[in-house]
Every structure is written in structure tokens, then in C-alpha cells.
Assembly symmetry: D2
Homo-oligomer: 383 residues x 4
């Protein structure tokens, strides 16, 4: 299988997520990093380029240089898609220019800083006809896929209740003034966008809820808080949700839940049963039934009870845990398939679980959350 | 230690909670059931009386008969307190008359059907100067007490976030039309009061949150749903909460979370750490810290790390699980101590964890939830 | 239902297990404590008698006095059965004399100090034709019963492997020289018998394995250790097991597993599946299948999937945890039924899960364990 | 960082573990697969070579061809080490010839089929002065390393008890006659060696116990069973263990524990505490203390409480689970460091957690287990 060539913007040394993206891209041997503009600091870029083994001529001082430099290369050499791993403020300009330059784009979430920016990207996707998707990592977990397939095929009946929860504790103190670079940009409206916690993790929770249920959230009644003194963006949020049909829900996301790590979880209940997934034990999926019996499905490429597509997302048999990087790698693998498919067929029928629509919906969600909370918890529809 | 004499109203055969109350009362040998009016059906009352070993003359055809009959007995024989275990509609009339007849009252929750009724009871308490408390069972779990003591002594720092969740699934289908008596009265506004799920279990969640944090909820923004067709009272509810000080929170309660049993849980986060308790594993209490280390405290009368009061609520050493009946028995034991203390000192300084104030606050909560939801999720203050 | 009258030997103040027995006997209201000889110290006996509300004339200075005193009372007043809650050295003499005096006997485990003593009791049972059973507490857990019923009905197929494990940590240090009375007698061969850890908890593990599988252990290859300096009895033990048929197994028991509480667990595997129960979460039973699907059965009197007999051992619906005292109470309730049945029918067809045969097998196990280990881990058959 | 060049023997399509090795080697970008002889079937080899993107000239029809072919290449091109991923029968011949040809060797476990073969390898290591290590995967889990560092630094005091358990269920039925290739060679003495379950997974358990405790097992008293009819090698095993010093232990391994996946676990107890790790939740490490408090350490490169070396084995912060492939990748990364170190310094001071000594000890263990069981559970010393 031919490896798909990737360029990366962002992800210089010290940026946690850059190494994760690169490991995920490498894991299955289907993607090859061929160029990068890893940092606004050229020295960091050079060092990162050396460390990841790129030839110096493919390590660019700026993302603009990279896009133009790669464009000048022969088609069989140049990057086919651009992974955007920067703080949020660069997502839109890089994505737009990359698309317009003929590159496919795989971008970190949230898609942009504002819904307007997301629409700018949508326009670029429309005119470029290139593939665009987000790395909503959690959709890469095989049992998240299984949960979706089971809900969509009616295993829990008509859904009437969704609870999704995403607690973290790392921003309980003012990390942004203690030299933590991750905290700095995430709490800076200029770089992060209109929301803090909601944009950083709330959007994952939202995205997970829509993905698994196959239902759109129609409106939110949200309560965002700014807990740590002097923080400029929300660090905790709760919201009442209404879905298409008659389902209701609750979404909670917090970065000041002291001592919590990263335990995104979701519970979906319908007329006939429930389904529970938690990132704390991502290789188990609990199926609840009206009879009271609880079944636990386990991830594994040998588990006959899983849907075939789910099994295909597993690299190991049950009992050999896969984790965060493998989930990320699934996102990369599916996007690589999209790119190969485009190359072959010229079409952009995506298999990526978080395509452009996720970008638009995610940003609509973020803006609705902020608007609802600002208005004193008024129901606010998603644009 | 002299056993305290109890009369019981409600709890006839077939009423789940009657047997639990009687077992809890028996467990520690500090309470003696001396009389009962167990049902509106005199035959059920008689049968129940025989089964629990009461002499026929102390088994009364009606609660009114019981109160007057017992009043005529010599002081050293007659019931000292009345346990009210009926559907909600009788809580107020029985409690008021019992108090006015000189009996102490230990009542099932919710206190009444409306806040007005709770105030009627409050007036009776004031004029009778008798002990009154609710059986908010979960406050009887030793580690719930420990959680409270730790939060109040500052172990998690200033609280800024509370999440309390109470899922059940037994009302996912229309049990109330299938001959389930528990479901029938709980979904009948006349007997249950202004709320269904909120009154039945939401009030437990609310009570737990206030108990552990020591903070009052000031207002709610609530979303109640009537999921099952033709159901007349809410069967699921979610609410944004504001507490005294600056803490925010979320409360969820549902009886249509298909497949869930009874997994009340609470998470409290402050500046310095977090604390997590779940009824699914009630003998463990998780202490979260900013450093990431997680400690698990375990219940046990031999666990030196617990507060002395907590240890005193345990009957067994760590590793010998206590459960629901023991929690209930702690409520009885503490109320029995209140009654003995009254007998000795004439005062009503209660050690019960859910005294009259809990009744008033609980009903204020229930009414605020209903009002907020009816008004389309408007913030509503607790009276 | 008429309450069965019980006398108690042992269980004076400060003896952990005495209070547990009394609470268990009280819980269901089917047993009434009518007399006691709680301690060799008459003052402790008197104080305990007062505390549990016995009339002074039924509180006896010695167990001999109690047996003769009760024998002189009219049949409708005197104790019907004697609960023996003493250190092991008194089990045999008290049981023998009680049986010969016409009382039924419910005894703590291990049955005696030696197999010879157990045979003495067996002879007394044979000539007295009274009921005799042991309080093997763990057999009182509803899901232990369920595990047995499922294995016996073939749910896991022919059993080929059993692992049973019982770790405690409380004797990791020399508690017996620090004033811990529980530790003192348990490490004293005169009072405890030929074994320490094996007799105190190993026999529980053995008993559980035979109960659930319905198979006899035929021989053991055992390794007993005396870990703490100067300790005179084993404090940890491991053994290879052979069962009737072709099943093999491993039994481990330790009181020096530092930090462990009391986590007895068992796993039974057969041709068609496995079954796992752990005291750490006693209200769950895991059913493993060849397909990889894992089901969790939950205890509860409303759980249709449980055998009817199992449901009858539950007092609460699923999600309302029962624990150690309830398990103990089930042992009492079943023995009370045996006693009532004897009174009615004159027969001793026992429903108790640990009848005389358990006493003989348990002591045969203990002696075989000691003999095997003393001989340098030679296979030793159970007599 | 320069990538280390690897050749692979075995791991053709359909061999589960080949893909895992390749993914693990790729994950960190420090190892490059440059050649392979993936199967005895040249067509499978060719197909696998294409799939993993090797140039045809580096895909060899046999491992002998590969070793000679690579030897003829310029030093800066040829493979630096050979990963052996074949069934056990080829481990010795391939390793010996590779070492003698100047290649380093990273081999699957068990090292060989017999201890004699392992000594053949040892001789080759001695004369070639090349690096040799085993892929004992579980030693690659960060918290296994942490457990070792904590035990070695005295956190649990002097160790007196070890329990290690490895249940699987996949061989409960006669997979070896149903076309399962993994099962075929593992149950074939010619290809697997003297042991089945003991060699396949028992040796992992043994290795883990010695690694974490830093203590040698001195002798075993083992019970191996051949459960499934016609199976020629053991499929379940239990053993009493004696360690250097006075520690005792129990080791269990089974491939007929129906329904179990792959839940290797270990518990180590000493005078001052205990430590528990389980593959079911590999990112948690339980620390037990005499006081009863239980702490849970969590894996993460941001967890200050971990030893620095442990943190360096983590790629993600706490709450972002790593799994089996990452553990494998740590083994590869450490071996790659060994190879680079050799290239730089000419020395073979290994950082690999399972060096040659593990091979010798593992095979001594396997042979002692078989010998002890064959002799009817006689204590048998490890050579």
C-alpha cells in the first residue's frame, strides 16, 4: 500500500500534540511525513525537523513557505495533505491556503476560533474540492464506533436521554501564568477563540454525542464559568441539551475538576436499553438492558460480536489494550484512505468520522454555548 | 441501652420499603416496633402485624386509630416515635397529627407533596417541640459522612464545582399501567405531589449535594421531561445549579435511564482537590489531588484515617461490606439517639443528618425545579 | 412467623464477631437472643448481657451453667439453638454438650481444632439427632448461591480449573504481641488449633470452592509459611489442588498480604465458560463465555435472571447493596428454618449451606494442608 | 536521531505478532525495517514485503538468504539487528547465525525450545559480542518499570509473598485442529518446545515476577495439565515458588480459563506494603499500605510522582491511555538505544529489560516446571 505524504504545520518540540500526531501517522505505515513548518520559531522548526528525520530542504521556516515550496515540487514528491497542529488561530488561514493550493487538510479541533472562520474553510473546501477533516480523536476508538453502529441500528431503541461528561483538572490553578505553554494559548482569546474549556474539550463531548446518537443537538442552555481569577476564558461549563426528535441531554466539561485526568464519558439511553462508554476504560463498552443484565463488549480484532467495521479499527485481539495513539492513528488511517481514494477517483466521499460538517457543527455549538451563557442561560439554537 | 419504641404508618406487605425500614430498625437492637397501621386495607395491616410479631391490640385499622390508641397507653409502653412509610400524600397529615399528639416523627422523603405542606409540619414541630427527621438514606453511608467532614474541614479547598447524578431505569416503560404499585403512586400527582422523578430521587441528589458541601443551592435552571407517553409526572430531570459563594453545579436524575439500577454519585471539586463517592461502590471514597495521586479511603470501623464519627457509623472492619440496610440503620440509630436525648433532657438538638430543615429545603428544591422547568428553564430561586 | 430462640456462647464485648452474629440474628426478625454466656470473664458477660437487653437471669457465668440452666426451663421458653462464637478451642466441648443436652448448634468456623474433634461433634450429632451447621459466611451471599446453581446446572460445562484466593494483610506485623486479642488467640495453637491462616481463612476458601463447584477436593500439595518472626502458626499458605473428576486448582490464603483487606475471590472455568465472584464487589457475578462476551449478573430480589432461590436470599432490588451482615443473616435465616422444620417434623433435613459435612471436610482440609506442608509439599489426601 | 535498521525473520501475513512488531518498531520513528524473510512460503514473504513497503531486493526467500545477503551490503545500508518473530523452533538457529554474522538480535520469547538451545545462543552472544534481548512485552509497560523501581528501592519492605497470574481462554477448545495457525504451532512440541502454556505465557509471568521483585526464583513445585483431549503440550499450569531470601510465591498460567482474555497480573507483598499491577488496567498501579490507605499511581509523562525513568517510557500525559503496542514500542526503543550505544562505543551494556540472562532464566524456568510436574510435583531447582 502506497504511503500518503503528509506535511505538518505546528507541533514543534515541546508541543505535546505534535509528537502524538507524528506517532499516530507512523503507526500503521500508511502515512509518511515529508515536510514541516513546526513552529514560528525557525530554530525550533529546524531542531524538530532534524529530530523527525526530515531532509533540511523540506523543513520550512514558515507555513506559507511550506505551502508554496511544496507546490513547486513534482506531484509525486510533494505533500498530499497538510496536518494542522497549531493553536486555533492558525487553523483557518492555514487550512484555507492549503486547500486553495490543492492540498487536503487534516486539522486539529476546534476547527477554528469562530463559526465565521469555519465557514471560510467550508468555502475553500467547496471551491478546492479537496478532502478536509478534523482529528476528533475519540471517534477513533473502536468501541466509540461500535456504540454508534449499535445506536444507529436500533439496539437501544429510540433515544431519549444523553449524558456526556468531560472532566479535567489541570487548569485548577493558574497554569497560564506559570510558564505552561499549553495553558497560555488555551486561555488566550486571541489564539484560542471565543471559548476556553468549551472549545478545548466541550466540543469533543458535543461531537461524541452527535456521532454516537446520529442526532443533531438543536439548542443549548449553557452555564460557563471563569473560575480561576483573571482567567479570560471559561474553564468549566454545563449545558442542558435538546436533540432532534425528543431526546434531551446534559453536557458537562471542566478543566477545574481538580485531580481528574481526562475521563470523557457518554451514556445514551433509549426505550430499549442503554450504552455506556468511558475513556477511562476505552476498550470496554457496556450494554444495559431493561432486564437488568449488563453485557460488556470488549475491543479486539478477534471479537465476533463487534461490527466488522469496528474490528477493522482494532490492531490487537481482546485483552491487548489499545489506547490514545491508536485512536489517533485510526483517524489518520481513515483520512489516508480518503486521500488515496481522491487520488484514484477524484472524489471526496469521506470515510473520516469528523468531516467538514463536524467543523461547522462544532463551531456552531461553541458559539451557541457562549451566547447562551452570556445571555444568562437562554436557550440558544445552533446555527 | 434501652430500646426506643416505634410505631409505623405504612409499609404493609408488598411495600418494598416497609421491610427495609423494619430491618434497619431491628439491626442494631436499639429500636423496637411496638405498633403499626400498615395499610389502608385492614386485612393487609393485620397480616403484616402478625408477620412482624406484633400483638393484635397494637395493630390498628387506621393511623388515626393508632395515634389515639397509643396516646391512651401508659407512657412507658406507648410508641415514642412514629415512622411514616406511606406514599407522600399521607406524610403531612400523619406527621402533623403525630407531632401534635406528642410523638416524635421519622418520615420517608420527600417530606410532603408541596412546600406548603412542609411548612405545616414545621409549624407542628415548632409547637410540639418534638423531634422530626427524614430518612434520607444515603446520608447514612459512613463515607458520605466522611466526605462531608473532609469537605467541611477544607480538604478540597473552596468548592467551585459539584456534579451529582442519580440514574435509574425502572420507569423506562409504563410500569404504572402494568400493576406495579410502586410505580402507580409515584406517577400520580395526587399521591406523589408536584414532581415525579425529582421528588422521588432528585431530592436525594439535592440533599446529598447540600449535605456534603455544606453549601445551600440558591437557584436552579431545570429541565424536566415526561418521557413515557401518558405519564403525568416528570421521569427525568437535569438542572444547572448555583450554590452560595461561587460554586456551580449540575444535578441529573432519571428514571428512564434504561438498564441503570440506582447509582447515585457525587463529585465535588475545589481549589485543592476533589472527592468522589458513588453508591455503586459505597464503601470506597476517592480523594483526588492536584498532584494526580488518587487515594481510596475505605469504610471500616478499624480504619484509622477516617474521622472518629465516621468509624462509629461502621459495624465491620474494612473489607466486610456494609450496604443499604446498614445505611438506613444508621439513620434509625441516630434518630433513636435523638429520641433518647429528648427523653433525658427534653431538648431536640438533633444528631439526625436530615432534620426539619432538610424537609423545607427539599420541598423548596422540588418546587423550584418544577417552576423553573415549567417556565422554560428560567433560573428559579429556592424559597 | 414464630421467632426461634437462640443462646450464645462467646461474643462478649470487644469480640468483633459477637456483634456481627447478633446483628445478623436480629436483622430478619426470625431469631431472638434469649440467653448468653458471652465470656469467661463474668463481668464482661454481665455487661454484654445488659447491653443486648437480656434479663439478668438469662445471662450465665459460664456456658456449662447456661446449658444446664436453659435445660431446666420450660420448653417453650428455653433456647432452641446455641450459637458458638468463641475461639476454636471451645467449639468442640460446647457443641458436644449442647447437642447432648438437646440443643441445636450453629457454630463459627473452623468447626474445631482438629479433625478428631470434628468427629466427636459428628458423633454427638448422630446420637442427638439435632441440627448442626457452621457459619461459613460467604455462602450466605446470594451470588455465591447463584454461582453454585449455575455451575451445578452446567452453565460452564465440565469444570477443569478452579482458582480461589483469600488475601488479608492485618497480620503482616506481630499484632499478637501488641494487645490485639483477635490476633492473640488466632496465633495460639492451643486455642486456634493445628493451623493459623489456613484455619482462619483458608478453610473459607476451601469451603467456597467445594460449595460452588459441587466437587470434592481429593488432595492438596500445600506450602505453609510462618512469615512473622516468633509466630507459631502459619500466616500464609498456597496449595495445588486436585478435585474429583479431572479438575485442578490453586488455593491461596494469606494474612501477611500487606494492605489487603478481605478480598476472597473465586474463579471457576469449564469447557463452556467461566464464572467469577469476588467479595470486593459481592453483588456482581461475572459470567464469561467462549465468545468473549462478558455478562454481569447483579444481586437483587427483582432480578428475573437469577434463580428463584437466589432472589429469595436478597432483601433489596438491584442497586441497593447488601453486604456482610446480610450474608450472615442469610446463614441465620436458613438455620432458623432448619430449627423450625425440626420442631414441626422432627427431622434434620438441613437447608443450611454448611452442614456437618462441611465441618468434617473443613477439618480434613486443614489437617491435610498442615501435613502436606510439613512433609515438604507432598500430595496429601483429605481423610 | 538516526534510525536503527532492522531486518525481520517471521511475521508474514496472518501472523498476529508480526504486525505488532512492525507497528511497535515504527511508532517512535527510531527503527526502520529494511529487510525481511517473513515466511517459509516465498509468496507470503513477497506479499508481506510489498505490503510493508520494502524494495523487492531486500525481501529474501529465506532467513539464511537474508543474513548472507545483508552481510554483503555496505555497513551503512545493511540491517543492524534482526528481529526474530517466528515460532520457537527457529529462534535458536536464526539467533545463532545472526549473531555470528555480526547482527544484533531481538527475539520473541520464549528464547528457545530448550535450555540447551538458550545456552547455544549464550555462547554465540559471548563470541560475537553483539546485543541480544527478548521482547518480554509486559516489561515495556511504564508502570511495570515503576513497580520494579519501587520494590527495589524498598517501598514495600522486604518481600515475603508474590502472586502472579496469567489467564487466557482461547485454547479452551481444540483450536489446533480448527485451522488456527497460532494454536497449531503452540501445541506442537516440535515447534513450540518442551512446554505449551508454560512456554507461551507462563514464562511471561515468571519473567515479570523476577523483574519486579529483583529476586530469583530458586525452585518450583509445578502442576501442569493437558486439559483438552489429544493436546500434546500443557494448557494450564500452577506452581508453588520459592525465591532467594525467604519469599514464597504462586504462579498460575492457563489457556483454558474460558472467557478470559489476557489478564496477566502480579501482586507483591512485603513487610511494609504491597504493590499490585494488572494488564487489565495497565495504566494504574496500586500501592497498598499497612494503614489501609490505597493509592493509585497513574501512568503519564506528566506524573511527578513517578520515577524519571518511568515517565520517560510514557508518550502521553495521564488520562491518555497507552497500551500493548506502546509497551512493545518501549522494548524496541530501548533495544534501539542499545544498538546505537554499541555502534558508538562498541560495548553491550544493555538497557533492555530482558537481556540474555532472561533467556537463560526463562528456559531454566520452563524446564524446571516441566520436570517438576513430570516427577509428580517435586520441588525442582532452576539450573
Amino acid at each position: 500500500m502506497k504511503r500518503v505524504r503528509m506535511g505538518m504545520v505546528g507541533g514543534g518540540e515541546g508541543a505535546f500534540i505534535g509528537d502524538i500526531h507524528r506517532a499516530a501517522a507512523r503507526l500503521d505505515g500508511e502515512v509518511q511525513l515529508v515536510c514541516g513548518a513546526f513552529s514560528s520559531n525557525p530554530e525550533v522548526t529546524r531542531r524538530t525537523g532534524r529530530r523527525v528525520g526530515l531532509p533540511p530542504e523540506r523543513v520550512y521556516p514558515s507555513w506559507q513557505d511550506m505551502l508554496s515550496g511544496e507546490s513547486r515540487l513534482p506531484a509525486q514528491l510533494r505533500a498530499e495533505f497538510i496536518a494542522i497542529v497549531t493553536p486555533n488561530d492558525l487553523h483557518c488561514p492555514v487550512a484555507e491556503r492549503a486547500l486553495d493550493s490543492g492540498f487536503h487538510v487534516l486539522s486539529e479541533k476546534p476547527a477554528t476560533r469562530t463559526l465565521a472562520e469555519a465557514r471560510t474553510i467550508a468555502a475553500a473546501v467547496a471551491r478546492s474540492k479537496r478532502c478536509y477533516a478534523l482529528t476528533h480523536t475519540y471517534l477513533g476508538y473502536p468501541l466509540v464506533t461500535e456504540a454508534r453502529l449499535r445506536v444507529l441500528s436500533g439496539d437501544v431503541g429510540k433515544v431519549h436521554r444523553v449524558q456526556v461528561d468531560y472532566p479535567q483538572g489541570w487548569l485548577t490553578t493558574a497554569q497560564e501564568t506559570s510558564g505552561n505553554r499549553q495553558a497560555e494559548w488555551r486561555t488566550d482569546p486571541q489564539r484560542a477563540g471565543v471559548a476556553g474549556c468549551v472549545g478545548d474539550i466541550g466540543v469533543h463531548a458535543f461531537n461524541l454525542a452527535e456521532y454516537i446518537t446520529g442526532l443533531h443537538v438543536t439548542k443549548v442552555c449553557a452555564d460557563l464559568s471563569f473560575t480561576v481569577p483573571h482567567r479570560r476564558l471559561d474553564d468549566q461549563a454545563s449545558a442542558l441539551l435538546r436533540f432532534e426528535g425528543e431526546a434531551v441531554g446534559v453536557l458537562t466539561a471542566s478543566q477545574v475538576s481538580a485531580g481528574e485526568e481526562n475521563d470523557l464519558s457518554i451514556r445514551v439511553y433509549g426505550e430499549a436499553g442503554g450504552i455506556v462508554w468511558s475513556h477511562r476504560d476505552p476498550n470496554s463498552l457496556k450494554l444495559l438492558s431493561l432486564s437488568g443484565s449488563q453485557r460488556t463488549l470488549r475491543a479486539g480484532n478477534n471479537v465476533a460480536e463487534l461490527h466488522a467495521f469496528t474490528r477493522a479499527q482494532c490492531r490487537t485481539p481482546a485483552g491487548h489494550p489499545e489506547g490514545y495513539i491508536e485512536a489517533f492513528a485510526n483517524i489518520y488511517r481513515l483520512f489516508a484512505a480518503d486521500v488515496r481514494n481522491f487520488t484514484t477517483s477524484g472524489t471526496t466521499t469521506l470515510s473520516s468520522p469528523a468531516p467538514l460538517e463536524s467543523a461547522l457543527r462544532g463551531m456552531a455549538f461553541i458559539e451557541a454555548m457562549v451566547a447562551s451563557s452570556t445571555a444568562g442561560q437562554q436557550w440558544t439554537e445552533l446555527s
